[in-house]
């Protein structure tokens, strides 16, 4: 006697042409690269502005570095929609802080808040790799690097995004002077840091298809945030 499985009325079959098996994935990687370098009394932040989806370029200018206050800049990479929402959340909380305390949030305060904001969504994370930049209490350049769930570290320089594997070793070499005999060490001056940031992106644009089009550069110092927009290769 054959054993038959009980028959259930299955949902209606329709002739769709979309064949997915693992279910719907709510995340997208929109590519792009961001970096930051801290100096004695400044920080430099740079992000390219290309937004991609797979092999398609969505936009040549969709900035992913944002000024959160007149003291801090947040550079992102990863999933653009999450990054934009994260920035909105941070802006709203910073606004509340401003009205409560009658002062703008300092970079270290913003840094801790960002970590908390990311960890709050520990089990449905913002798929974003943020770099927060500003000046600390002593006026020194401060770079805070995170992972998507809020692990935070204060560093001297950081590269994140689709070309991070190209840019981070370049910065290890040019900023930290790793494995270079006779390297003096110490922090870079402003103009050198800026040139290295630009070179890092021209190099990354050459080899990484997700990096290019435009480069947003921010220099943060005692006088405020200075912005510059440069062209990268459009191919």
């Amino acid at each position: 006697m054959m054993d038959f499985a009980p028959m259930h009325s299955a949902p209606a079959e329709v002739p769709v042409e979309h064949h997915s098996h693992g279910g719907w994935d709510p995340y997208v990687d929109n590519g792009g690269t961001s970096l930051a370098i801290a100096g004695k009394d400044f920080v430099i932040v740079a992000s390219d502005a290309r937004q991609s989806d797979g092999y398609s370029i969505n936009s040549r200018y969709d900035p992913k570095a944002f000024t959160l206050s007149n003291q801090t800049v947040l550079a992102t990479t990863g999933y653009a929609a999450d990054a934009k929402r994260l920035v909105e959340v941070l802006e709203q909380n910073a606004q509340t802080y401003f009205h409560k305390h009658e002062k703008q949030m300092s970079a270290p305060a913003m840094a801790q808040m960002l970590s908390n904001t990311l960890y709050y969504k520990r089990f449905f994370p913002y798929y974003v790799f943020p770099i927060l930049c500003g000046l600390d209490k002593e006026g020194k350049g401060a770079v805070f690097a995170y992972d998507p769930v809020g692990n935070m570290e204060r560093v001297v320089y950081q590269a994140y995004g689709s070309a991070s594997a190209l840019v981070q070793p370049f910065l290890d070499n040019q900023v930290a002077g790793a494995n270079q005999r006779g390297h003096e060490g110490g922090l870079l001056d402003r103009e050198t840091a800026r040139k290295i940031a630009i070179d890092a992106f021209t190099g990354a644009t050459e080899r990484d298809i997700y990096t290019g089009d435009w480069l947003d550069i921010f220099v943060i110092d005692q006088t405020g945030i200075h912005r510059e927009k440069r062209e990268l290769k459009h191919d």
Partner: protein, 247 residues
């Protein structure tokens, strides 16, 4: 007293509860779909086009569907993807416009606000794991400023001088980038229409889910204008010379 029980004739079936074996599910695929939307900036504003087909899989099911709509007085909306999700969005936007009208405060809903509203709806639905299976193109003039934006089922947003959804992203976008990028403030309406038709013709030749019946629309200082459906001239004489696998 006992409740009265109705006895149905044996030919009439009581509706059975739909069996649900497993967890609550959401949209996992689009059903009735519209294909590409293309749009770009030109001298006087925004141009957009979409064909009139809503497919049911490979079946050309509805051949007179409107996939372009105006939202308020200065905003144009184009949609591709699931048509029922689009109709849900249409209802939401119509309610929003009614609310705005009832405010009676002399304020007009601008393109940027419509864009932000649709973007938030899309991002919130993706976050719920219950996305609206669409890609939207939103174009308009915000106090004289041209605006053209995109949002899809992931809540991904971007603005650009040229935008194309779906197959259009592969077939029409390269043409638009070559002919529009950097010229969006000088392109005449005649040339814009010509570019639009060229893109739609390429799509009709190569996208098997497209139709040679389309509408184009524009937003200018005079407001939104959506055309009646029209056909494109096509030339299939090359087909005769194709033998075997072509080329």
């Amino acid at each position: 007293m006992d409740p009265i029980e109705f006895r149905l004739p044996h030919t009439i079936q009581r509706p059975k509860a739909t069996p649900n074996h497993g967890p609550r599910t959401h949209t996992t695929r689009p059903i009735v779909t519209g294909t590409s939307v293309i749009a770009f900036k030109y001298k006087d504003g925004i141009m957009m086009a979409a064909d009139c087909l809503a497919s049911y899989g490979s079946l050309a099911r509805f051949r007179n569907e409107k996939r372009l709509m105006s939202v308020g007085e200065t905003t144009l909306l184009g949609v591709s993807g699931d048509m029922s999700d689009f109709q849900h969005m249409q209802h939401t936007l119509e309610s929003l416009l009614t609310q705005e009208y009832d405010m009676d405060d002399g304020q007009k809903l601008g393109t940027k606000s419509v864009y932000k509203c649709i973007s938030n709806i899309m991002y919130n639905r993706r976050t719920k794991g219950d996305p609206l299976w669409n890609a939207y193109v939103i174009g308009g003039l915000d106090n004289g400023q041209k605006m053209l934006g995109f949002v899809d089922l992931y809540g991904t947003t971007y603005q650009s001088a040229t935008i194309a959804t779906g197959f259009g992203g592969h077939l029409a976008q390269p043409i638009l980038r070559r002919r529009v990028e950097g010229r969006e403030d000088e392109l005449s309406e005649e040339e814009a229409v010509q570019i639009l038709d060229e893109c739609m013709r390429v799509l009709f030749y190569r996208d098997a889910r497209s139709l040679n019946k389309l509408r184009r629309a524009k937003v200018t200082a005079q407001g939104v204008e959506i055309s009646e459906p029209y056909m494109l001239e096509t030339n299939w004489s090359f087909a005769e010379s194709i033998t075997g696998y072509g080329s």
